[in-house]
């Protein structure tokens, strides 16, 4: 059985369909992951000197709880396999909801479960990236900002944020690529993403070599696009 280019051409339309889903899950997932990551990452250091003046009174207690919950979230996501998270969300979570009183109809689309899983999973890792870069901002710069009399929001928005962001880009690129590849795990909940499309075509024509080679190249193209975009951002930011 030699290498047949025609097999690739025939399977291209369904593979591209799969690649499109992979791309959608990734983009939606990492966008949500960024939002979750920024919140949980800042949450883990809420009320510490890394983010300006340490609070007093009730806000001190609120910050303590925020740190506690953010850390709990990050650790429980990092400590469990993403495939278990996807299974839980797709199979177990709807059962849990249906067992509530007055709820007997609840379904979760596989696509929804996939996007949420990537959001939450990437969010936990991005939280660590955010926390690490914010902590790495020199304490003196935070104090210089404070001593000018700006608000905490302004301090984070104009001083800590831009400096931390520049340092976040390389590890974020890493995480985005990992998240993109993680979408292949959603084969287990029946999402028609790229890996599953490859698997189905393979099952009908047994052309493993052509199919998996094409699938691999398609992943490589997508990860390259992600990496190049981030490198572009990195270059656009001032070097300091």
């Amino acid at each position: 059985m030699g290498f047949e280019f025609s097999v690739i051409f025939e399977s291209l339309p369904p593979l591209l369909e799969g690649a499109k889903l992979t791309w959608i899950i990734t983009l939606a997932g990492i966008s949500g992951g960024m939002a979750i990551g920024i919140l949980a990452g800042l949450g883990r250091i809420a009320g510490t000197a890394y983010l300006g003046d340490e609070p007093h009174g009730t806000s001190k207690q609120i910050c303590f709880l925020t740190r506690y919950f953010s850390a709990g979230f990050v650790e429980s996501i990092r400590g469990t396999p993403i495939i278990v998270q996807a299974m839980f969300l797709y199979f177990a979570f709807p059962m849990l909801i249906r067992s509530l009183p007055n709820v007997d109809q609840f379904r979760m689309e596989a696509m929804t479960a996939a996007v949420i899983t990537i959001m939450v999973n990437a969010g936990a890792y991005i939280a660590e990236i955010v926390r690490g870069s914010v902590i790495s901002v020199h304490k003196g710069l935070v104090e210089a900002g404070l001593s000018l009399g700006i608000s905490r929001y302004q301090l984070i928005r104009y001083v800590i944020g831009p400096i931390a962001l520049r340092r976040m880009i390389p590890p974020l690129g890493n995480q985005f690529i990992i998240s993109l590849k993680d979408t292949s795990l959603f084969i287990v909940i029946g999402v028609g993403e790229l890996t599953r499309q490859g698997q189905e075509i393979m099952a009908s024509n047994f052309r493993a070599l052509e199919i998996w080679l094409t699938v691999a190249i398609m992943y490589l193209i997508m990860t390259t696009v992600l990496a190049t975009t981030l490198r572009h951002f990195e270059r656009k930011m001032k070097i300091f």
């Binding site: 003196g140 104090e143 001593s147 000018l148 009399g149 700006i150 104009y158 300091f240």
Partner: protein, 246 residues
């Protein structure tokens, strides 16, 4: 003249270690106070308490009629009235010299961008850095960075300026240019200044009062040249002996 800064029986502890002990200290409007003392004696802690970068542990601090701890919510108001210059300059590395200086008026004083940049441009010219407006801090020498940092603190239009060893991180040939800027601020604008430094020449020329700290207390104070010529305590005699050799 009225006191713009007053510390009454102030203590400051880190954890269980008290580093400032029952400090009574005040600064009159327009006065230039120079603080000297060995490393670890609490000089930085004392001036960092004034703009609440460190919160006092007990006692009372009054800055421009704002009372700490009673009016803790008004810390930002204090910081608008009190500028600070650090040993390590601490310029924002992602902003040009002009942006660094315009940042305070723009954000802390809510000025329009154009107005803030006009002020920043004037101040940079005043500290002799007219041609360096567009440079990033990383492209400037230590002395130039410190002059930008002084302009940045002045731009918010404070009533008091705090300096924490502003020339200690500088190469010897750059110390003069920074001291000259500080002298002109004291002389021309009559700015109230609290300066931690070991530049004894600056202390005697510009200082109205010299304070010697050791182990968290104010050991001696008075007219700078008198304190330097006639140190009363052994500790100050010792200390002056060390400083003169450098």
């Amino acid at each position: 003249m009225a006191n713009i800064i007053e510390m009454k029986n102030v203590c400051k502890s880190y954890g269980d270690t008290e580093v400032l002990h029952n400090i009574d200290f005040s600064v009159a409007e327009g006065e230039v106070v120079v603080i000297i003392g060995p490393s670890g004696s609490g000089k930085s802690t004392l001036i960092r308490c004034i703009n609440c970068l460190e919160m006092i542990s007990s006692g009372e601090l009054i800055v421009d009629t704002i009372r700490i701890p009673a009016e803790r919510k008004r810390v930002r108001q204090i910081r608008l009235e009190v500028g600070m210059v650090f040993q390590q300059f601490n310029l924002f590395p992602h902003m040009s010299a002009l942006e660094n200086v315009a940042f305070g008026p723009r954000k802390a004083r809510s000025m329009k961008a154009g107005e803030a940049e006009d002020i920043a441009g004037e101040l940079l010219a005043k500290v002799g850095l007219d041609e360096f407006k567009e440079k990033l801090p990383g492209e400037l020498s230590g002395g130039q960075q410190q002059r930008v940092a002084i302009a940045r603190a002045l731009a918010v239009n404070p009533k008091v300026m705090l300096f924490d060893e502003p020339t200690s991180a500088l190469d010897p040939e750059m110390i003069g240019e920074v001291l000259d800027v500080m002298k002109s601020i004291a002389k021309d604008s009559g700015m109230t200044m609290v300066v931690v430094t070991h530049e004894m020449g600056f202390a005697s020329q510009v200082g109205d009062r010299l304070i010697f700290m050791d182990e968290g207390i104010i050991v001696e104070e008075g007219e700078p040249s008198i304190v330097m010529k006639n140190p009363k305590s052994e500790r100050l005699k010792d200390f002056l002996g060390h400083v003169k050799h450098h």
